[in-house]
Structures are given as structure tokens and as C-alpha cells.
Symmetry: C2
Subunit: 244 residues, 2 copies
């Protein structure tokens, strides 16, 4: 038995997210499992570092699967890439220790949210940024971001209710403006459902004067979703990398 | 009467090129003229720096038009951008001297051709690069490119026959490799039909050992299209900028 770790990129625009779901085959996970079945002749389940929502992109998603095979890493990469559609690609295949698990072994994950603040979305980036109407104050957004770095109960920044712990640790939030683009890059040990998009929406509202700094503390204290900002649209979000 | 110079970008993937044609409205020129008619109430012809072929992109195409209007530059930009589809965008509008003509006043134009040499096209660049099978020798390509810099009759590098002069001057060809990408950036005072794509095809054949350096001299001497390389596909080509 071998354990393979794959790093992949995808344009999430036309998919119903990462995870295989009962009512649709239009998921990225399904695309991979279909090809693995063809390649290995047996149904093979894959385990990702986490789900990405419908419309969210990835430049460094990671999953693993276990199988009996004589195929080499490079052969697996070529085989899968040959059958994948043009909006999904395998970047690397590594043979790893049997104990490696793409989700359970995660040390940190990095997401980036991209906004564009101009009169019309740039043509070559149009599917990978979210256009916003107002120019936020980056310095105030940075101050808000500082308050979110650390280990907190982030339940107020998620749209799901959970039985498990909603404590997560954010290691870093980097906000930078390049021309009319605003990039928010967030690294943490894990993220709740919609957490990055709600953090981004909250920081945007802060930067555009729709809320003040103390509201960030309040969301963290009261863990109340209704106090946080809007859930930003999926197309501006990209899973950049997963570290182990 | 005023003369406006517009700089625009577009993803050429779904268009039949720049130029308005008798049998199709699916051109970028047509999109602009439709909106100008709506904006000005009169049919208004626009003049581009040159055509781009079906499927070719632009990050800095320039056109101009003359009209009577009280609209300001910024109003014109906002109006046109509002009605353009998401794959075409106005970058700037300038009021210019009445003698300015987007094609006749050109000092130089810069095109870039992008190739990717890897097992599968990168997801986020897939519509803007051409995937090639072999890794060319960049140093030999550079030597071939040097021979093309200068003023020559480039008839052998075009697929059309011309009544007018086929002499053009290439000022610079820059070839660089970034990972599996190969970028060829060409600046000249003008280009014949398909010229950049045929130059790229010829240099690629040179770099992959399918022809030798002396063949470049021969094409320039004999002006024979059949001696030159393939016409590379349009999607890797982009009009970067036009200088006046």
C-alpha cells in the first residue's frame, strides 16, 4: 500500500465546490475520483486539506489517497492531468509516509482574498477578483486585522452551527494595495465555513466606515454572526497553499 | 469637433478579431461602435492602431474617434465601460490634437507571444498561452531573433499578399524563459498580417532543431512564406502597447 500526496490548482468558477455531494457530480473531488477509478480500477476515496466552496479557486490545494499500484509519481501526474478538464491541474505528486493525512496533518493554510476597487473589473482578472464600489482605508483595515490574529472562538465569523470546537488560530493577516487591487492574505491553523469571506467582508466594512474597530472585539466576544460583516462573494477567494 | 484617444484591453477568446466585418457583428470594433452610437446618437467610425486577429488579446490597443460632444473624458470612460461586456475594458480616454490618428501616428507597437512548455497548461493562464510539446533552446532562438531586428521586407513572414510595401522595422525582440513559460516580446514600427505568429513559429522551430539559423536569412532574402515556420495559434498573442 502506498500513500500519495497531490498538490493541485483549479479555477472554481464552474464547480459546486471541492466536496463530493449527494445531488451533484459537479465537484472537483468527483473529477479526481472518477479519474482515479479509471487509473486504478477500484473506487478510491481522496482526502483534501479541507473543502473549498462553490466558486472558490485554489493554487495549492492538497489531497491524499492510498492505493496499491506500481505506477510512479510522474506517471500518476501525467495520467491524471491527461484526463482532467482544462480548469483543474495537478502540480505535483509525492509518495508520503502512510501516516500522512491531508487534513489532519495540516500545520497551516493560507488563503488570499482579492478585491478590485475601480470603475470596471480588469479583463484578465475578472474571474478571480471581486469588484467593490468604495475605496477602503487600508490602515484602518490593518488595525482591525491585528485584532483577529491569535487564538479565538471564531463562531461569529461563520455561517454554520457546529458541534465541534470553533476555536481557531490565525497566525497572520497581510493586507496590501497594488493600484486598485486590495489583497488580503490570511494564514491560520484552520478556518470555519465561510470564515475568510466573512472576515474580509467585516474588514471591508471597517475600511469604508460602516463599522468601527470595537465591533471586531464584540464579534469575538459574543460569537454572534449577525454582528459581523457580509459574506464576500466566492470568486475573489483562492486557497494559496497548505503547509505540513 | 473633438478627437478622443482610447486605450483598451480585451480578452479576444470569443471574438472574430478587432475589425468590423460584413458578415459578423462579433468583433471588438463593432462592440465599441454600437456603444458610441448609443452615447452620441450618430454613427461614429473608430480607427484602431491596427487589427488584431480572431482570438488575439490586447492589454493596450489604441483607437480614436472624432465627435461633437460636451461629455468629459471621464464621463466617456464610465459610459462605455458600463455597456461593454466583461471581456473588454476602457483603460483611459484622452482628448488629443485633431491631427492624431491611431494608425497613422504610431511610432511603435509591442506584441507579446507566450508559450508554455509543460505537461499541462496552467489553469489560470490557460486562455492566454499556447502549450507546446518540446523545450526549445532559448539561446539559439535569441540568435535567430537578432537576425530579424532591423528594417527588412517581411513578406516571407506573412500569409497575405500585398500591394503596399511589406518593409517593416523591428526594433527589438526579447526572449525570456520563466519556469516553463517562454515569452517573446517584439517591438516594431508595424507588423504584417500574422507576422508575429509566424516569427514565433519560426523561432520555435529553430529552438527545437527543426531548422537552422541560415534559414532565417533565406526567408528574408527570398520573401517566401513557404520557407518560414508555422503560424502559431492566436491565443498566446497579446498586443501589449502602442507608442506615439
Amino acid at each position: 500500500m502506498k500513500n500519495f500526496k497531490l498538490t493541485v490548482e483549479y479555477d472554481g468558477s464552474r464547480y459546486s465546490g471541492w466536496q463530493r455531494q449527494g445531488n451533484t457530480n459537479n465537484t472537483i473531488q468527483h473529477k479526481f475520483e472518477e479519474i482515479l477509478f479509471k487509473m486504478l480500477g477500484v473506487k478510491t476515496e481522496i482526502f483534501a486539506s479541507g473543502r473549498t466552496d462553490s466558486g472558490v479557486h485554489a493554487k495549492g490545494q492538497v489531497f491524499n489517497f492510498k492505493c496499491e499500484t506500481t505506477l510512479t509519481e510522474i506517471e500518476i501526474k501525467l495520467y491524471i492531468n491527461k484526463y482532467l478538464p482544462e480548469d483543474i491541474r495537478v502540480l505535483s505528486v509525492e509518495s508520503v509516509d502512510m501516516r500522512f493525512h491531508s487534513r489532519l496533518s495540516v500545520k497551516s493554510k493560507t488563503y488570499q482574498y482579492r478585491m478590485f476597487n475601480g470603475s470596471k473589473c480588469p479583463v484578465f482578472e475578472r474571474k478571480y477578483v471581486t469588484c467593490v464600489n468604495e475605496t477602503p482605508d487600508i490602515e484602518i483595515m490593518k488595525k482591525g486585522a491585528e485584532k483577529l490574529v491569535g487564538k479565538f472562538d471564531f463562531k461569529g465569523f461563520s455561517t454554520k452551527t457546529f458541534k465541534k470546537s470553533t476555536f481557531r488560530e490565525i497566525y497572520d493577516i497581510c493586507i496590501n494595495a497594488e493600484g486598485d487591487f486590495i489583497n488580503i492574505t490570511i494564514t491560520g491553523n484552520g478556518f470555519l465555513y465561510n470564515m475568510v469571506r466573512i472576515i474580509t467582508g467585516t474588514l471591508y466594512e471597517l475600511g469604508t466606515g460602516k463599522r468601527d474597530l470595537s465591533s471586531i472585539d464584540e464579534i469575538l466576544e459574543k460569537c454572534d454572526r449577525s454582528l459581523a460583516g457580509i459574506t464576500m462573494p466566492p470568486q475573489g477567494l483562492c486557497l494559496l497553499k497548505v503547509d505540513y
